[in-house]
């Protein structure tokens, strides 16, 4: 039922993300990376840093990681997680369809866990599709250039960070009885985290913002240099998301539904 209702969102986000994936690979030329960086230097420094384009890296890994994972691979999947989190629980409660569903033998825990699994599944699907295209295309165009260990670790951390953001959105979707509040908090907090990440990268003076956002854990250079550090971070993020989704399920199981 949810796949039928939300597949368009998953497809749209995947396609938009894919356009950037394709563009980044098509634009890549090992001999002109330096020129590209010189071109970017013409733009305001703060803007380039905020978008994560400040260091494109000398090789394919560095180039793709900085071009995609500083901004694009976060913002579009983030739109998915906050929009769908609201649709999965709060919107059903708001419209009254949840009340009908819960007067059948389907338990609240089953409903909430199913929705949570779908939420994460959609996010992973977006990355599987786009990452698959990226790996295939880069191996065709630049055979052997992409070092998979570091790149997969970066993707793992990005997915887990977005799962934490999704967990926050899902928790508020379970707490609130209407879409308005669910979106206000469930979208507001993850979006604020993302804005803090961008602000923290503008200049050294604003670097402190990185301590109040989960997105600063997507430390591209550090993960590429030490992929296993990335795996450790991903595990911590995974545990946090389990707590957030679990809290959502517990709250939903105990709440009184508006009727």
């Amino acid at each position: 039922m949810d796949l039928k209702a939300n597949w368009r969102v998953i497809l749209s986000v995947s396609l938009i993300f894919m356009i950037y994936v394709l563009a980044s690979i098509m634009m890549y030329d090992p001999d002109t990376v330096e020129k590209f960086e010189q071109m970017l230097a013409l733009f305001p420094d703060g803007m380039i840093k905020a978008l994560g384009f400040d260091t494109l890296g000398a090789d394919l890994n560095g180039y793709l990681s900085h071009y995609l994972y500083g901004f694009i691979a976060i913002i579009f999947p983030l739109i998915y997680v906050i929009l769908i989190a609201n649709k999965l629980i709060a919107k059903h409660v708001d419209s009254g369809s949840m009340a009908y569903l819960l007067t059948t033998p389907t338990t609240r825990v089953t409903v909430a866990v199913t929705q949570a699994v779908f939420h994460v599944f959609g996010l992973v699907l977006i990355f599987v599709i786009d990452l698959g295209v990226l790996i295939v295309l880069s191996s065709v165009k630049f055979p052997g250039s992409l070092k998979l260990t570091g790149f997969l670790s970066l993707n793992l951390v990005t997915i887990m960070t977005l799962t934490v953001a999704g967990g926050i959105a899902f928790l508020f979707s379970c707490v609130c009885n209407d879409s308005k509040n669910s979106l206000a908090y469930g979208a507001g907090i993850p979006t604020a985290f993302f804005v803090f990440k961008m602000i923290s990268e503008i200049s050294g003076k604003l670097e402190g913002f990185k301590y109040v956002t989960v997105f600063s854990l997507i430390d591209i250079d550090k993960i590429l240099a030490d992929p296993f550090w990335g795996v450790g971070i991903a595990l911590i993020l995974f545990s946090s998301s389990i707590v957030l989704y679990g809290a959502g399920v517990v709250v939903f199981n105990r709440k009184s539904l508006a009727i």
Partner: protein, 284 residues
Amino acid sequence: MITVNGLYHSYSNDKKYAVKDVSFEIERGEVFGFLGPSGAGKSTTQGVLTGLLQLQKGEVSVAGYNVKKPSRTMFNKIGVSFEQSNVYGKLTALENLEFYKKLFDVPTRDANELLEMVGLENVATQRASEFSKGMKHRLTFIRSMINNPEMWFLDEPTTGLDPAIASVIKDIVKQEKAKGTTVFLTTHNMFVADELCDRVGFIIDGEIKLIDSPRNLKLQYGEKLVEVDYRKNGGTVKEKLSFIDEDDRKHLKDIVSEGTIEMMHTKEATLEEIFIKVTGRGLE
């Protein structure tokens, strides 16, 4: 079938109760009407009975199950149709019913037969998003019958429907009652309650003021009068005559024997009039 003892419910978890000290029992096969104006506590009571609202204080059992910890099997025995209809717009009418059939662990009814009962058989394969409000209401109504419920909760089942469809809905409720289904009917429509209910409870400001059968209430609160229109001297005379007064009874007997009566009505009170007498407030 339903036992409620000292039920209290507050949405703000303070002493502002939406329902307070509500107690009643409903026998198997009975149609019990819960009458009250908007905000009286009808839907809150129904919410607790159907497990949507947590039981905060009091004892409530439905179909033998304690709703404090409702079991999955309890929901196999109940059917619910809220005032606000809700269907999956992307699915057809038939798919909506087939989807709900899968949610129950008991034998279910034939979806096509249900659609036919409310005149939706010709739009069975049409997407529910294209339905009018009344059609969605009918689909929601029959969906609540899909599991052959022993205990059927109906919230304003005829509100917003045209008289012909409302009549079909009322007939279905009567048929289900005849089969032994227990019905908890929440409404502010006194005519529906009068026609369908074995007993009614008046609720206002979260408290039950009175429970009795519509007949007993009418006898208790109605005027012992008959209004009669009859022909006399080339014109029509209209009179109100008492059943109790000896002279009025004799006069009525004379009018009947003359055979000049055009219209005659007993003046029993309507449920709405009784509600106003008992609670001091109207049902709207």
